[in-house]
């Protein structure tokens, strides 16, 4: 009995470094961030108490409101776009086509590029004075005009588009693995009954892949909350403040405007928002496993 107990003690000891790191790096920093958001800190944090003053200022700030709206627009288009395009690509690749291995890699390649490179490349291509527009003019289509990147009311859609280009391959890879797991008999049965393929996909296959869709959704959601480098590389938040996002807001107030308290208030709002969205999902995961699972 003794060696076994030794093993268990060793095992629990082995967990300690990870625990300490996660507790320090996440819980500690979050608690500190929330605490500072209730102060009047400037360049340096100090520990007075001004209540919700920073939050009042935050929501009075036009730029913050624009940032939040942009995040919502980006998030919806990006997630829906990635799921739809990723699913279509996966269905294409599941048709026993030639060169599937190479195609899969090509579809996935954008994902191996950082958001920085993604943003830069698309910035060139979509830039009205450099990219597609000039090429079209040179090829004789002189009325061609595509200046969304320079338009405050449209640029955010292009940012979302570049994001979809980068991440759709990941969704494709996840869903393709799911499609491969589907029983061939399903297709035979469908053919015998004369049901068109698109109906099978819509009413049988997609529900069967719900687990894969959730995994993809969580990964895309993480990317939405994190979105920063794509915007920095592609538009720098412009034109004007039209493509600002919350993460960039926090960083600008931290570095350029030297207002730690407002930056932490904005970050705290993001924490709460993520918690409200992710909390129920985690809770359902937790509950679903409860009844009689050993490990």
């Amino acid at each position: 009995m003794k060696p076994r107990r030794l093993r268990n003690v060793a095992a629990q000891t082995a967990l300690i470094p990870s625990w300490l790191i996660v507790i320090f790096a996440y819980i500690g920093t979050i608690a500190w961030t929330i605490r500072i958001s209730f102060t009047s800190s400037g360049i340096f944090p100090h520990y007075d108490w001004v209540g919700l003053k920073q939050y009042d200022r935050l929501f009075d700030s036009h730029r913050w409101v624009v940032s939040v709206q942009n995040l919502a627009i980006f998030g919806v288009i990006f997630i829906v776009g990635c799921l739809v395009l990723g699913f279509l690509l996966a269905v294409f690749l599941d048709q026993k086509i030639r060169g599937e291995g190479i195609l899969r890699t090509l579809f996935l390649y954008p994902y191996a590029m950082s958001f920085i490179v993604t943003g830069l490349v698309w910035q060139w291509i979509l830039n009205p004075t450099l990219g597609i527009e000039q090429a079209m003019h040179a090829w004789g289509w002189s009325s061609f005009s595509f200046d969304w990147l320079a338009r405050g009311d449209r640029a955010i859609y292009l940012v979302a588009f570049a994001g979809i280009w980068q991440s759709a391959g990941l969704v494709m890879a996840i869903l393709l693995a799911g499609l491969r797991g589907i029983d061939e008999d399903l297709w035979k049965a469908a053919r015998v009954d004369g049901i068109p393929a698109w109906r099978i996909y819509l009413s049988v296959v997609i529900p069967m892949l719900s687990g894969m869709f959730v995994t993809a959704l969580v990964l895309l959601g993480i990317a939405v909350v994190k979105v920063y480098d794509l915007v920095v590389a592609m538009t720098g938040g412009g034109p004007g403040i039209s493509t600002e996002v919350p993460a960039k807001f926090v960083i600008d107030y931290l570095f350029n405007r030297q207002n730690v308290a407002l930056a932490t208030a904005a970050a705290s709002v993001m924490f709460v928002a993520v918690f409200v969205v992710v909390g129920p999902w985690l809770y359902s995961q937790y509950l679903r496993r409860r009844p009689g699972e050993a490990s």
Binding site: P45, A112, A138, V260
Partner: protein, 276 residues
């Protein structure tokens, strides 16, 4: 048993799929081609696709005139250093959770993974101020540690899914034969765990290599990796189009090459083992 797809439909799908692939791959290809053009050629209207004078002058200039070698070295040190450090911390933890699970193991894993969903900006403020106070801003060592912290949940989770697949019976048998804990780890566990560890290493090097949020905000010049270097070009106005393409190509080439060999592991890792 292969599903039979009608020949005509198969050809249609193949053509469409290749066209889509070309469309998706085009920006990467275009960057690559532009990097071999002169600056004048790069902004030529109409653009020349393949028939231009190929030149390597951009690569030479980027290499010689900027601090490119330093940025490259920083990328290598930060991505590999943070991954190795992460493995040192994570291997014992994943091993413990996979082979001596308690009834809370799943919760612990879930909880660790959920930290990945938190917005990084919230964690940035205290970490930035802390580094500033101790004078570690813009140092490689700080970046190595920070990147390790950021990726640790993924490393633990990935290793856990790989370790889980090692049959516990073999370890049990070794114990029956009187193997000590040390021998068990060195002779049995390690050889079986190497492929999983290698995949984890690969994925995290790629993730750390591409990470921009932390590197842009915590470095200035000394410890800045390639992502920060390229980000500093973000308003080229057509002046350094070709050179920037060369720099970008050099920045993404290692990842594209690694990615070609490791796409399966990449997908598996990115989905936390949900996709095998």
């Amino acid at each position: 048993m292969a599903r039979s797809v009608p020949q005509s439909r198969k050809i249609t799908f193949t053509i469409i799929a290749w066209l889509v692939a070309l469309l998706i791959f085009f920006p990467i290809l275009w960057t690559f081609l532009t990097s071999f053009k002169t600056e004048g050629e790069a902004v030529a209207v109409p653009p020349h696709f393949l028939f231009f004078d190929w030149t390597s002058v951009n690569y030479e200039q980027v290499w010689d005139r900027s601090n490119y070698p330093l940025f490259f070295l920083n990328s290598v040190v930060i991505s590999i250093g943070s991954t190795v450090l992460g493995l040192v911390v994570a291997i014992p933890a994943a091993w413990a959770m996979a082979f001596s699970p308690t009834k809370h193991t799943k919760d612990v894993l879930m909880w660790m993974l959920s930290t990945k969903m938190l917005p990084a900006v919230g964690v940035l403020v205290p970490i930035y101020l802390f580094l500033r106070n101790v004078g570690l801003l813009d140092t490689r060592i700080a970046l190595v540690v920070i990147m390790m912290l950021i990726n640790l949940p993924i490393i633990v989770w990935m290793l856990f899914t790989y370790f889980k697949e090692i049959p516990g019976d073999i370890l049990e048998a070794a114990r029956m034969d009187g193997a000590t804990l040390g021998k068990e780890i060195v002779y049995i566990l390690t050889p079986m765990a190497i492929p999983g560890i290698a995949s984890t290493l690969l994925l995290n090097v790629i993730l750390a290599w591409n990470e921009a949020f932390w590197t842009i905000n915590l470095t200035a010049s000394n410890a800045a990796p390639l992502t920060a270097f390229i980000a500093s070009f973000s308003a080229p106005e057509g002046l350094f189009y070709a050179k920037l393409s060369a720099a970008s190509t050099m920045a993404i080439a290692p990842i594209l090459i690694l990615g070609w060999f490791s796409q399966k592991q990449l997908v598996r890792g990115l989905t936390f083992g949900a996709v095998k």
